[in-house]
Each structure stands twice: as structure tokens, then as C-alpha cells.
Symmetry: C2
Subunit: 284 residues, 2 copies
């Protein structure tokens, strides 16, 4: 597995790969790799791609009050994990390599950025879209892989690729879960014992909500009321719960097509997010 830090160099490397007729699969990350990332690398590997993993903590997606400097970094560990997972190349650019000057323009997300996690992070998804557009232009993969756990990010990337006609296919990979259903997250270790025991009810609640929808309850407000009732029984604090179209992320009252149920829930030392995406069959 090669590690490449310069844009020129990765372009060269990948031109050789493309000329040999091999397709390129891309897993963009901010490093500090965990099982979720590994599952993305495996998904790319399974499709016989030459697998590129990027590791770049993107300053543009951090707000002025969000601590960019404290974001966890451990490149040696990441390199080992990527290699063991089967990555063929790690792209590890410096901030200066990615942003040699201030960006004279950015992608500004007008739909789907002000709901869910975006509500409390203005500008965050502009930063995400901008860096992913850059990375897609640098790597020019056939297929890029994102976790469904970050469902809003995945939605916005899907929308971006479609809106700008980027000739790439975007694949969302399922959330990796503990046996009791809790979505895996590096933050789970911060849960107290009773919180850890309770936490699977988040996914269980979304799953039930999805079931109600599939059984015929297509009123967003009715589903939301039920979800809130269940979630308020927990010992933490409900940050948000919402039901939106997917990936357009619109609050449509009469649910149809693809729909996401999403929750953010704060325990004492860990804020957990989870979601459930389902597709309503059209009426005959």
C-alpha cells in the first residue's frame, strides 16, 4: 500500500491504474479509522476496485466554535488499519496542499443543509461538499463509498454529484451495529453503564416508526408525535428527531418514496446519532 501526500503524485499514480484498465474505488475519511471505515474499504474491495482512502481533516467544515485542533488524529494507526482492510493507496495531503490559498469560491448548499445536524452547524455542509468535490476531482474514482450513519452527509454528496453531473457513482454503506442494535461509534465508550443499556432504544424507536409507515401511516406529523413520545422516555436529552424525504431532505407531510427517520440524542458525555431509511412502494 502506497502513501501519497501530493496531488500531482496521486494523479500520476492513478493515471497508471486507469491505463491498466482497473477501476478506482474511493473512501474519503477524516482519519481515526474505525469499523465503519473498514466496512467501506471492504465494500470497495469487493467490487474489485483499486481502493483509494483519503485521510484529511478538513478545516472548512469546522465552525469557528468547533475545535478543529482537538479532532483526534493518529496517522500511523490509520495507515495500519487501511492496509489491513485492503486499501491500495492512502492519500494524506497537508492542509496547504488542499488549500494553498483561501478558497475564492465554495459550494453553497441551499437544500437539506438546515435540517438535522446541519441546523446547529451553519456552513458545515458547505465545507463538506466543497472538500468532497475537490477530492472527487483529484481522485476521479468510478465509485465513492460513504457510510449511511452520516445520512445527511451522504444525501448532500448524492445531491451534489447529481446537481453538478460529476461522472461518479456514490454508494451508501449500511451502518455497522452492536448485537443489540446500537450504531457503532467511537463515542459509545463515553456512555455510562445505564446509558449504554438504554441506548439501543434509539434505533428500536426508529425501526418501529419505519414499521408504522410501512403499515400505512404516511402522515409525517403523526409519526413524529409517536417518535417523540417514545424518545422522551429516555434518560438523556432529545436533540432532534425528524422524518424527511431522502436524499432531498424535505419535510413533506404526506410521506412517499424514499424516507429517512433520523435522531440525535444527548447523554451526559456522548451525543449519539442514528437513522433509518426506507422506501415506500408506490400505490398500484
Amino acid at each position: 500500500m502506497k502513501v501519497v501526500e501530493r496531488i500531482k503524485e496521486i494523479r500520476n499514480e492513478l493515471n497508471h491504474v486507469r491505463k491498466s484498465g482497473t477501476t478506482i474505488g474511493f473512501v474519503p475519511t477524516m482519519g481515526y479509522l474505525h469499523e465503519g471505515h473498514v466496512s467501506l474499504i471492504h465494500a470497495a474491495k469487493k467490487k474489485k476496485h483499486f481502493v483509494v482512502v483519503s485521510i484529511f481533516v478538513n478545516p472548512l467544515q469546522f465552525g469557528p466554535n468547533e475545535d478543529l485542533d482537538r479532532y483526534p488524529r493518529d496517522f500511523e494507526r490509520d495507515e495500519k488499519i487501511a492496509k489491513e482492510a485492503g486499501a491500495d493507496l492512502v492519500f494524506y495531503p497537508s492542509v496547504h496542499e488542499m488549500y494553498p490559498t483561501n478558497m475564492p469560491m465554495t459550494i453553497h448548499v441551499t437544500n437539506g443543509a438546515d435540517v438535522l445536524c446541519g441546523k446547529s452547524r451553519p456552513g458545515h455542509f458547505d465545507g463538506v461538499a466543497t472538500v468532497v468535490m475537490k477530492l472527487l476531482q483529484i481522485v476521479q474514482p468510478t465509485e465513492a463509498f460513504f457510510g449511511q450513519k452520516d445520512a445527511q452527509q451522504l444525501a448532500i454528496i448524492m445531491n451534489m454529484v447529481q446537481a453538478f453531473n460529476v461522472p461518479i457513482s456514490i454508494t451508501g454503506c449500511p451502518t455497522i451495529r452492536e448485537e443489540d442494535g446500537l450504531a457503532k461509534s467511537s463515542r459509545n465508550v463515553y456512555l455510562e453503564e445505564n446509558e449504554r443499556e438504554e441506548a439501543p432504544f434509539l434505533y428500536e424507536t426508529l425501526r418501529k416508526g419505519a414499521e408504522w409507515i410501512q403499515l400505512g401511516e404516511t402522515s409525517r406529523s403523526a409519526i413524529l408525535a409517536e417518535l417523540k413520545k417514545s424518545l422522551e422516555k429516555g434518560s438523556g436529552t432529545l436533540d432532534y428527531v425528524d422524518v424527511l424525504t431522502y436524499p432531498s431532505l424535505e419535510p413533506v407531510e404526506n410521506l412517499q418514496g424514499k424516507v429517512i427517520l433520523a435522531v440525535a440524542y444527548a447523554y451526559k458525555k456522548a451525543r449519539l446519532i442514528d437513522n433509518y431509511i426506507l422506501e415506500l412502494k408506490e400505490e398500484a
Copy 2:
């Protein structure tokens, strides 16, 4: 010469071209082709590219008070001109093909959009950058050609390609001029006789300004004062004159590197623009 209206179809056509080992040269236009466009097609042809010309009047770059519907269109004439100039393929998409839904995000230009022509057209260059990004992703040319007459547009496209690492080279082609120096424009026919006689003084003034700079006057304010003095002698109305870095379009007092002198000047029925770009040699 083929005419293609669908994105899927042009992708197919160009994949064949690429596989045959031919490079693609791209000339994006809003149609109503004139000698300037023809010179861009010739420049692309000269470099042995397979030449794609797009004809698309982009609604996104028109403000609410700008009359999109009255923008001149004549596809049959355009087709004939493109063919005679040596274009290999014309891409002529509908608005629905380019914007099947409202754009959920756009490119937002933060540097260089609020000077020169952008001052009076807020959002205009966001619309330009957004549609050109889409077209570049659809056509994926090796090289794209723009006229230097629209110097601010050219600058912003250059900045965009660099900022987003789009793997394409952008070539600016010189402004086509009448024998007396007046930049060719479809608007010149609206000039009254005495205006037409006077109008070459715009370019002449910029050229003199460039000469002063090259002779050692590197104070922006000094140059601007001289330019204004000359331009106010004309019978029309000075809309703006400015001296900026190029292509970053910044008002730096101590001129150095690449510099643009640009003017917009309103006669009774025609608003003319022109510019002069020069590169200052670094001191030894």
C-alpha cells in the same frame, strides 16, 4: 458535425472519442455565435482537439430584473457557424436537461465577483461558475477555451478550476478587434456615427495605462486617476474603470505580477466593455 441534446448521449459520443485517443477541446457558449466564438473554435481546432461547442442560455446567471426571455437565440444560424468554423459536435441541451430540478446547491463565488461587471450583477458569477462546472463534468475536456473579452468570467473560471482541482486546462483567447482597435461586439451596431468614431479611445486609454505601468508607475490609485481623466473626456458615461490583480481580481495598491485594466462605458444605446491584461516582470 453532430448535434446532441441529451447528457447521456454526449457522454457516450465522447467516450468513443476518448477511447480513440483523441483529446477534447471545449467551447462553452450561450449561442448567437459571432467572430469571437469562431476564434475560440479555431483555437481548439488548431490544437487538434475534437471540438465540442455547447449552446445553452443559462437561466441561473440572469438576475430577476434581467430579461432572460429576450436573450437573442438562433440555433440554425449557430449550427451553421459552428460547422463552418470546424466544430465536431454541438451540445444543445434544454433547460430541463441541465436543470431537471432546482439546484440543491450552487457554487458561491466569494472573491472577484463583486468588482467590475459583477458589482451591478449580484449572483451572476455564481450562475456562471455553476453552469460551467456542470458543463466541464459533462464534457470532461482536456482543454476549455474562453474569450479574454469577458475577462472577469475567464478569471473566475480559472480560479474555479484551480480551487476545485478540476483536471482541465483553461485557455483564454485574445479579444477580436476592428482595425481601429475597438473590441468587436454585437452591440457595436447600436453605436451612433460619432460614438463609433470615438469608441476606439476606450482601448487606446487602457493601452496607454498599461504602458505607464510598464514604464514604472505601479501605484493603482495614480493609474486609476489618469485613466478616469482620459475616459471622462468621452461623450458617453463611464460605468467603471478599474485596475486589479489577475485572475484574483484584487484591488492591490502596489501593482505587481499579472494585472488587468478594465472599463465599462455606456453610450446612448450600447454599453461597451474592454480590458487589457499585462504581466509585470519581477524586479531582479
